[in-house]
Symmetry: C2
């Protein structure tokens, strides 16, 4: 394979991973990291579930609770990173993105299962002190169901091959044409 | 188990995970996320390898290349998050930490294997554009071997149990005594 073909193949691999993650509960990219800047100025990170991946638009979709800290964090600093690590493929995918939030629609609320609905809502809100785990009451609340859209600005892959490590960067401003980087 | 006993058991589980991660290549906490604030003010994240875990001091150790972006990032903003996700235990561990870097010692350099040494050093430095992956030359360089020490300020666990989700927070300023939080 030529170097350009390898870059194209790498980008295809990224979107294959993301499409599988959005569709299949057991895919490596189903649970990915969302790193944000916290309100105190430090870095925060947590796992999120990938709900949608649109290669044409270069966007990813995640659902969350309006009362979760990450919603306030991205409102203050939209520049976030989503991270996928596939230990079998020894492939790391870093997605630098601008994240925005909006209320989920009735149609989106209807489309998620009853079990999933329980995590949007509840009293007290996420992170508040409670005396014991059972002191939290789940109460599905469509008004707190929030959709995050991550508009990918840059994709950086790092493949830890047996022979050598390979890093590539694909930027939206360059039409996602890739370039190789020192690993 | 009483609620306090469950909190103690949760903290024990965290340190069990971290100790295994530092010692065993196949442990869930061997590869963990390091999230930092980038020099442009957005959030960055990448996988790192856990090299040490000291419960007494409440610190973790990671090795890196002095020329990697994360070294500059933590110099500017030491408040970082380390994240472990164990899909089998359905346990997320968030470690808010102050990270500092120092040159690795000769003793530490001797203790790592030949294969590991190759990733500290090389031309050009990490992230620089290269024409093709083979254009990067590895060259183990003890002068670029860097040790990151993460002093944990807060541990936050989230267990996605079948019956309910349980979140707990353990703060250094409170002697790492835990409190329950809304999930």
């Amino acid at each position: 394979m030529s170097d350009l073909t390898r870059l194209d193949a790498t980008l295809d691999q990224v979107w294959y991973h993301l499409a599988c993650g959005a569709a299949e509960p057991d895919a490596p990219a189903r649970n990915l990291v969302l790193a944000t800047v916290g309100v105190d100025g430090g870095a925060e990170a947590r796992m999120v579930v990938l709900r949608g991946a649109d290669r044409g638009a270069g966007t990813l979709t995640v659902h969350t609770d309006a009362a979760s800290a990450k919603v306030a964090e991205i409102a203050a600093t939209p520049q976030a990173t989503l991270l996928v690590w596939d230990p079998l493929a020894r492939l790391q995918i870093r997605l630098r993105a601008r994240v925005t939030s909006r209320a989920g629609t009735e149609e989106e609320w209807s489309a998620i299962g009853d079990g999933a609905r329980a995590v949007y809502g509840g009293t007290p809100p996420p992170g508040f002190a409670i005396a014991r785990p059972e002191a939290h009451e789940a109460a599905p609340d469509p008004a707190r169901f929030t959709v995050l859209t991550a508009r990918i600005e840059e994709i950086e892959t790092l493949h830890l091959g047996q022979d050598r490590h390979r890093r590539a960067v694909f930027r939206r401003t360059e039409g996602f044409h890739g370039t190789w980087r020192a690993p």
